[in-house]
Symmetry: C3
Subunit: 303 residues, 3 copies
């Protein structure tokens, strides 16, 4: 747990990654840092910037929502709209996802989407999380995550939704589906995606312990494919993309679908139940009480 | 085969691990050392000793049934009763399994449970083997195997039924599902558990050749998670357990169930057929003849 | 792609491994080198030579169809007949497959079986490809591929259909299911066999990029089991086979079936649909046009 807390400091939002005791058989059920807290602003400036190079057919999608690219409903909606536009654009064949922020790729789901919200709103939020993954994991484009900072929980899900992962060779950056550390449970489709990426046993250990892997450790278990110096993450992604685009699109797309269809179909045919599960969990009095205490603690720290 | 026989010596019960020729398409069908032979004693002294430290919530289960912790019906029954007690005890969150014997963790199933017994009794025995695995693989406790000696066949099954495996760094100790070497076949749920642990290809090689891995080789393929000096196996297990117990129980338990439920359900829904298969195989005249010859050979050696 | 073309040179049939542009969303759809082109000869000399050593029970099957052991309908028919004979021969327990040709194990499916042929004939051809894999992957014999040269596409399928793979330690030799590079798609049962061998993630990368692995890289991902000097490939296969035959046949066979049955059954229950898919793809005007242009290019090169 100390490790998790240390990460919170790294993300630069002290106190965000704390823990709350709620009822459980043995001890604590905690919430964080898969749930990151954005400083609210009412700015309508885009959280995502997309540049499509029509000469290469490669789009770079930059996440630029400070402080930590939290996955809020607004963020996810903007992300999905951009993804869909690129998917429909025949001149776009490859997508690179990266962050404009220092030290963080994405800190995962936004806690404010889950506190004091109506079940309807929580359901809408979870549907957007599903949508992000469905669009990304099933994309016809070649997709590369240029992971230039830490990438816990939802940020990790986004990364393993891509075809290839290049991470900054910085042992301070970590990546992983660490939900369990925080008392919550990664849903089955997070799990399936992780198993597809690192195999059953590494996924089992990783999920049961809620492990965050340093970049070098992530490479060892195959959670990322390649480490490069921090200032070469994007350029390496561009070089790698040209290799992916040398493969005939149609054959690559059919092959990708053959590899991923079963995993995607499993969520598609359980989508409503998965939303119901999430909403029923997150709207529990005990969980909401914990979130409130947690937020109050944050406020008192700021004061 | 020489290797297997060498292991028998290591276990300290000469002649126990021998082979019998029975009918087969090509050459031999053999029995051992997944079937180990206990020296009979009518002692009612417990085969298992459990110490629960209520301050840490960690129980240590010591197998203490000389010479080789054979999995007899009595042993398995005692094992399951102890497991169930701990499972029901809310003060117990973690379980470490180890052996009090020198050089052996467990040598696997007891041959005497399969010779000259009625089909009913054989079925009862097999049901106890299933029960041991079902209880262990599906336990809500965090479970660590502290493998301080060799662990073939049933001993290996017990190990891979845990959440984590720490083995003595002694190249003389071996572990593996070596049933095939002996002319018998690991049932599908042994196979599923192994595939979940080391992946499909390593499991295929391992099961088709009935391989026993030395401790270092077992680490290489991921059959165990960690090697430590022999005198540090238990203390390392204790240290590791504290990391597992730092994870909120409820989230870890749901995650574990998500990872293992499908494998467990497969046995649950085929349990009777699996018993029938085992009984029909083991009560065959040819197999029983082989067992008799084998036991007579053992007696003549003793004389 | 340069890499693929370089391989074509290695195979010694310049121009055979070229590419054809056909319609696709983005750029090229290519054909080769999974489709190799045999120089036609009307020779009725056998394409395959089998030597069974009745003292050891080991058969060596030598592929001897120059220049590149293309898998034509004739070749596959001869291969399957030989396999079936050995399967029925109770004195034969092990099979080693190797090549008499320099530098190539097998270059894969024969392009001439797919150009200008009737749908019926194409279907007959594809059925023979299925039959080769079904017989090999499900063989009761212990099977070892002694890969003494390059082994792309269909050659790789043949290799991963065996129980064990020993490859010449020559970085110029490559192996892989590279269909995607060429604009075609490995069918689901190629994919399943690869996943069973190297795991899901390595298979995904391998199939989406149509990767050919050098011998050392193939060893790293587990696509082959062992590298030995080129002149020791066959002798090592013989030594290894004796270890496989030390395992009781019956137990090994049941275990092998337990590991592979599900994958085999998937093709068996979709066999006709798989043939229909192939025929419908390969007889498309666009594909046939591409094949014609390709063959004309080859002719003009020869002139």
């Amino acid at each position: 747990m100390a490790n998790v807390l240390r990460n919170s400091a790294k993300f630069g939002f002290s106190g965000v990654l704390s823990q709350l005791s709620i009822h459980s058989r043995h001890g604590r059920v905690c919430v964080s840092p898969c749930f990151s807290l954005q400083q609210r602003n009412n700015s309508t400036s885009p959280k995502i910037k997309v540049d499509l190079d029509s000469s290469t057919g490669v789009a770079v999608l930059r996440m630029q929502s400070p402080p930590v690219n939290s996955l809020s409903l607004d963020f996810l909606t903007e992300f999905c709209i951009n993804l869909e536009k690129l998917e429909m654009d025949r001149s776009c064949r490859g997508l690179i996802i990266t962050s404009t922020l220092s030290k963080v790729f994405s800190a995962g789901l936004d806690i404010m989407e889950m506190y004091g919200k109506s079940p309807e709103r929580c359901g809408e939020f979870w549907k957007a999380v599903q949508e992000m993954w469905l669009k990304l994991y099933g994309s016809n484009m070649a997709t590369i995550a240029a992971i230039n900072g830490s990438s816990p929980a939802g940020g990790c899900l986004m990364s393993i939704g891509c075809d290839y992962r290049i991470m900054a060779d910085n042992p301070r950056y970590s990546i992983g589906l660490n939900e369990t550390q925080l008392g919550i449970v990664a849903p089955f489709w997070f799990k399936d995606t992780l198993v597809n990426t690192v195999g059953n046993r590494a996924a089992e250990l990783s999920l049961e312990l809620g492990l965050l892997y340093s970049a070098p450790d992530a490479l060892k278990i195959g959670l990322v494919d390649q480490l490069v110096p921090e200032d070469q993450v994007l350029s390496t992604a561009q070089d790698t993309m040209s290799k992916w685009l040398a493969v005939p699109d149609h054959a690559r797309q059919i092959t990708k679908s053959m590899m991923r269809k079963q995993t995607i179909d499993k969520l598609l045919s359980n989508r409503e139940a998965d939303i119901t599960n999430f909403v029923s969990f997150i709207t529990k009095d005990s969980i909401q009480r914990s979130l409130r205490m947690y937020l109050e603690m944050l406020k008192s720290r700021k004061a």
